[in-house]
Symmetry: C2
Subunit: 221 residues, 2 copies
Amino acid sequence: MVNMSQHMERDYGLEKDDKISNSVIRRLPVYLRHVQTLRAAGIQTISSQQMGVQLDMNPAQIRKDFAYFGEFGRKGVGYDIEYLEHMLLQILHLDRQIGVALVGAGHLGIALSNYARFQSERITIMALFDNDPVKIGTHIGDLIVQDMKFLREQCHDRNIEMGIIAVPAAVAQDVCDRLVEGQVRVILNFAPTNLRVPKHVILRTTDFTTELQALAYYIAR
Amino acid sequence: MVNMSQHMERDYGLEKDDKISNSVIRRLPVYLRHVQTLRAAGIQTISSQQMGVQLDMNPAQIRKDFAYFGEFGRKGVGYDIEYLEHMLLQILHLDRQIGVALVGAGHLGIALSNYARFQSERITIMALFDNDPVKIGTHIGDLIVQDMKFLREQCHDRNIEMGIIAVPAAVAQDVCDRLVEGQVRVILNFAPTNLRVPKHVILRTTDFTTELQALAYYIAR
């Protein structure tokens, strides 16, 4: 029997062993994107009040979130945009490249690979795998679809730290095991199934059906 | 200035005006899926202890979650699987069909439409839209891609209650506005942008980049 915090770590909260809650962590990329938009617009400083209005959030919440990581702002001046971006990138470990292995070259895999190419900050899909002989060897964007049998060694040899599972549920655990053997640290799973990982690996399952079903609750409100 | 609870409603928590937190609601589909698996296996009753082990969760959490909605179990007997499924479907409003309009017939839209066809419980994608003349009129599964200009009237006339946005960020607000005008109640947005909706509409944004960036935080742990 494991306790709820472990379950939360796997599927909902990832809060185990961390003083800073996952809700805080999940807001950091939102701040990051906003700060980058401001910097691109030539803005140099911002107060938590202004940021609160722009992001539709409580300024006290923003100040509290930043305070977990140190003193970023100055009274009466606010936050220096460039410094704030620097700090957010550092906290999220986005101050260096993070390699991702994407498994599954179906419509979802292709959508994720297109999406990531244009949107993501320092997180790079370095390798794409599938077990379909028709797909293996084809190009998707800059990537060539590789045979799943190379998954483990590619992750290991190229120091890939993140895995994305975009395969049918029936083969997801096998893919997950290979990613773990390839020393991947963090896995984002899109297959609608519960996967098992060792304790040192962080797994998050994003389940489209569960998302829709939970939203259905709010329909009759 | 709006408060954090409103922001949470839009992007993270949907907790505004609800006594039952969104974390509870998001666990209900997980219970539902498990209960359906058990029923298919011919199992008739289950205790919260057993369910806790099977789902890797704390049994007290499970009992507490169910208790929000009434007395489902009996001391020493546990939960009747069939009754539990019935109640979960009712709570989630999945005891009737819910119509969905999916906007965007790119790779993501196709992936979502395939996924939903096989996985989803009483949530049916009834209409699929795109603005690309090449895609309009083509078949994707059982659906014909329709011109975006019919989005509003189709939602309204066919009593579609849910909308899914799978279009590029630049056109997402326009799509969102049309869904709202079509009287959709709940919107799931996959475009990486902040959308505005009136207060009576529930919006949840699922942002792949934000998800990956938040996970990067855990890499160096």
